[in-house]
């Protein structure tokens, strides 16, 4: 195999599994260490810079980082990365003074943001300090998008959301709330230098063809519309018996909300088997903790209406069959249909994009599914000054993805307004610093405690179910936050190898607790080399660090897979051929490094 090029900024970045998996590439271990050191404000600011909504995300993030976390490969459970973020947000001091301070010198460019969700707000935050005049339009009365209209208050208190939305609006954003944009043409005519579309995926799927749908309409609701109406307190109650259709996170929010609005027998009914449900495992757990049964393998057949009023639904029982490609088919079992009583039904079976306000004769290209053609890197549409991001760009995702899109769209808009090539993206900021302080002393806590993942405490069920605004999760206290933070393996502290210092004494190979290091003859084929390591490197997602040829003709091969970043290799190396070096990787934001 070829010698690994560690000068490629992506090599060490990939070793930091959590950061690499995070759409916004938040420097996770860096802020986790700050939390352990009780430096909450700094931990918050690292998050804020990267993901814009630390308090929101510390409660609601989809956490793609956690399944990626190395700790989950070393033992059972990953680090509770997401909830640690909340510890920073809950305990921070004054952060506002550390944010960019306006008024900013205008640069003469005007940008329109359509939609006030996390994608647009991120664009606003990145561009306002550069002097752009930003106009944000949203049909709602306040900013935040679905973070406000969809995520229920018992998961995300309004105060937390308001605080973080306001940090952005306070940068001098011109807001136009209660303003539905009904024509892109009109916006384009107003001579903005660029337009960003962050309108989300605002349409909930319906079951319009199911018998009884029309007749029972008064008690059949589209999940996301219903949640928005609850958020704005237009809906304050629900029937005693509620069926929630769907197996995703929206269904989980619908059923838990129903439970708080008077629903006594709330049931989630889903077509797929339980294990295939789209909802995150923790969302399912939380629903079940609130005594909400989930009935799987039930396909809706009809709404049952009696005397003009909905009385329930009939379901057909199915079974999942998978073909050799893993493709699923739901096949009826032949058992008798199941009738379930209901006063109200909430349909939470997915969201759709919808752009009725974009005229189709403006030159914007759409694909066969009615989605605009958007560049995956630049977020530019086929109208050169119109950019997309968030759920509006490629369909419904989550907040952190919307933020990541926002950052990149802001970079593009800034390049565009400066007549630069959008494809020449600024490279990330990287930095490697040695952590050595003494023979057995490092600037980070290199011990690896065996503590199992800590559980986030929750408020009493009686309390949470009787008050929709009572937040369920209480968050880690400082001490538990510290203990959980210590579980982090510091994957950003890289094992950096210097060939010409190595005397091939094998000390590092002998001491490594997880058998990462092997000195061996090189192989042409990567799979051959992977096979012959001390413990074969079977996780192909994880790279091998292959050195140049050493004096004896062998090479040093390190499998990054389960390295504990314990530093023992470097401690046992007589010549400091290994060093532990902290790798900082920051995605470059708009305006940094490109002017």
């Amino acid at each position: 195999m070829n010698t690994t090029d560690t000068n490629n900024p992506e090599y060490y970045h990939k070793v930091v599994d959590c950061q690499y998996a995070c759409p916004a590439h938040t420097p996770v271990p860096e802020y986790i260490r700050l939390i352990a050191a009780k430096r909450y404000t700094e931990a918050y600011m690292i998050n804020w810079e990267s993901n814009v909504f630390p308090g929101v995300l510390g409660r609601t993030c989809d956490r793609p980082c956690e399944p990626a976390c190395r700790r989950g490969r070393v033992e059972e459970e990953p680090v509770a990365i997401c909830r640690l973020k909340r510890v920073a947000a809950d305990n921070k001091g004054d952060v506002k003074s550390q944010m960019p301070q306006g008024p900013f010198k205008p640069n003469g460019k005007k940008i329109a943001l359509i939609g006030g969700g996390p994608a647009s707000l991120t664009v606003a935050r990145d561009l306002a300090p550069l002097g752009y005049e930003i106009h944000l339009f949203d049909e709602q009365i306040k900013g935040g998008g679905m973070m406000r209209t969809q995520i229920p208050a018992f998961r995300l208190p309004e105060t937390v959301l308001n605080e973080e939305v306001n940090y952005i609006l306070d940068l001098g954003i011109h807001t136009h709330f209660k303003t539905y944009v009904s024509s892109l043409k009109e916006v384009l005519d107003k001579e903005y230098d660029a337009v960003f579309v962050g309108t989300g995926a605002p349409k909930g799927r319906d079951l319009s063809k199911l018998p009884g749908r029309k007749e029972g309409d008064a008690n059949i609701h589209i999940g996301i519309e219903w949640l928005a109406s609850v958020a704005f307190e237009h809906t304050k109650s629900v029937g005693k018996k509620v069926i929630v259709l769907g197996g995703g996170n929206t269904a989980m929010d619908c059923c838990r909300t129903s439970k708080r609005l008077g629903g006594e027998e709330v049931k989630v009914v889903v077509r797929s088997p339980y294990k295939d449900m789209k909802a995150s495992p923790w969302e399912k757990e939380d629903a079940q903790h609130e005594d909400i049964p989930i009935l799987d393998n039930h396909t809706p057949k009809s709404f049952e209406v009696k005397d003009g009023k909905l009385i329930g639904m009939t379901f057909e029982k199915v079974e999942a069959h998978y073909d050799e490609n893993g493709k699923r088919k739901l096949i009826p079992t032949g058992e008798p249909d199941v009738f379930i009583e209901a006063d109200d039904v909430l349909i939470a079976i997915g969201q759709l994009n919808s752009f009725p306000w974009i005229e189709r004769d403006l030159g914007m290209e759409f694909d066969e599914w009615g989605m605009p053609k958007v560049d995956k890197v630049t977020f530019q549409s086929t109208i050169s000054n119109v950019f997309f991001g968030g759920d509006a760009a490629f369909g419904p995702e989550n907040v952190i993805t919307a933020v990541a899109h926002g950052h990149q769209a802001a970079v593009s808009i800034d390049l565009f307004c400066n007549n630069k090539k959008l494809t020449e993206r600024p490279s990330p900021f990287t930095n490697l610093t040695s952590q050595k302080m003494g023979i057995h002393e490092w600037a980070y806590d290199s011990e690896v405690p065996t503590d199992a993942r800590y559980i986030v405490p929750q408020a009493d069920k009686e309390k949470t179910l009787s008050n929709i605004k009572q937040e369920v999760e209480l968050g880690f206290d400082q001490n538990t936050g510290f203990a959980e933070a210590q579980r982090c393996l510091n994957c950003d502290v890289q094992t950096v190898f210097t060939e010409n210092k190595c005397i091939e004494c094998d000390a590092c190979m002998d001491v490594c607790p997880t058998s990462c290091i092997t000195f061996t003859e090189n192989e042409e084929q990567e799979d051959k080399l992977r096979e012959k390591l001390l413990v074969p490197a079977l996780n192909l997602q994880q790279d091998l660090l292959v050195s140049d040829t050493l004096k004896t003709g062998k090479v040093m091969v390190k499998d990054e897979d389960v390295c504990l970043h314990c530093g023992l290799c470097a401690e046992r190396c007589p010549t400091s051929a290994w060093d532990m070096q902290k790798y900082l990787y920051k995605v470059t934001k708009a305006g940094c490094g490109n002017h």
Partner: protein, 350 residues
Amino acid sequence: MTYIKPEFRHPNLPVNEVGFTKKEYEGRISTLCAGCGHDSISAAIVQACYEMSIEPHRVAKLSGIGCSSKTPTYFLSNSHGFNSVHGRMPSVATGANLANRDLIYFGVSGDGDTASIGMGQFVHAIRRNLNMVYIVMNNGCYGLTKGQDSATADKGSMSKKGAPNPFAPIDLVSLALELEASFVAQSFSGDKGQLIPLIKAAMHHPGFSFINVMSPCVTFNNNKGSTKSYDFVRDHASSTSVLDFIPKKEEIKVDYEEGIQVKVAMHDGSYLSLHKLARDWNPLDWVSANEALIKARDRGEILTGLLYINPKSNPLHDTLKSSDKPLNTLKEKDLCPGSKKLEEINSSLR
């Protein structure tokens, strides 16, 4: 600040026949200097015992004094151990072995511990053919007391401060051969491929198995001009053969080429398979082993690998016709067979 070895191991660590991973054969984290050859030998012992599926409680580790003699702390934490006084490991090993012949005895010593203060003990353990593995971690100096030349330092070998050693060395391998040790081998800490099978073979050999391992002292004797440095040993090692230890359960698959491949049957049905690299040398022939060693020395080479083996050796217990059971398992009836037996013994002596 660490110096604690994390508890986690590779999740895919294989398990041996007795259900253990390598972790169960490890010791405490080493406190020797980083890069010390001795640590590699410890790792080779761990690997050999793991691969042989030895139950750790069946091993007794014995040592004297020195960095080398500290190493039993760094391997086989689940085994028995006795860290004795300087140069006295063979006596303790003899006593332990006579008391309980069922254990595997692992003696670890240094060149100072063996070739200076312990020389008198060493030679008698060989002479008696005590059933044990005797490893010398040979760095040509007294590592623990800051690197003075030892009796195995070569004449002219340069100390770290630049002073050449004025005395001729004691070559422990020649000495062991001269005393007709029944298993004589030499290796290098940096060559686990050779060392691990040698350790396995030594553990199977029913008699005194001597392995002299060149084991550089990174701190005091790894300088230019030293003949015990990593670079010097690597440049001058010459291997007699490529060795494989084949446990009795495994079929031998290779075809043996007359003269080049040698198959040595061991008492318990296992085999040593040697692919000879050195010519005119036969590990079963004492004279040719001596010759090979002398010629290599003349060429300035360090001959490594298995040098000599006498598979039919007579270990001490056989010579003494001593109890075939460990003493601690003998019952009062065995120890005090009664007046009738006493009569018999007495009359036999009249």
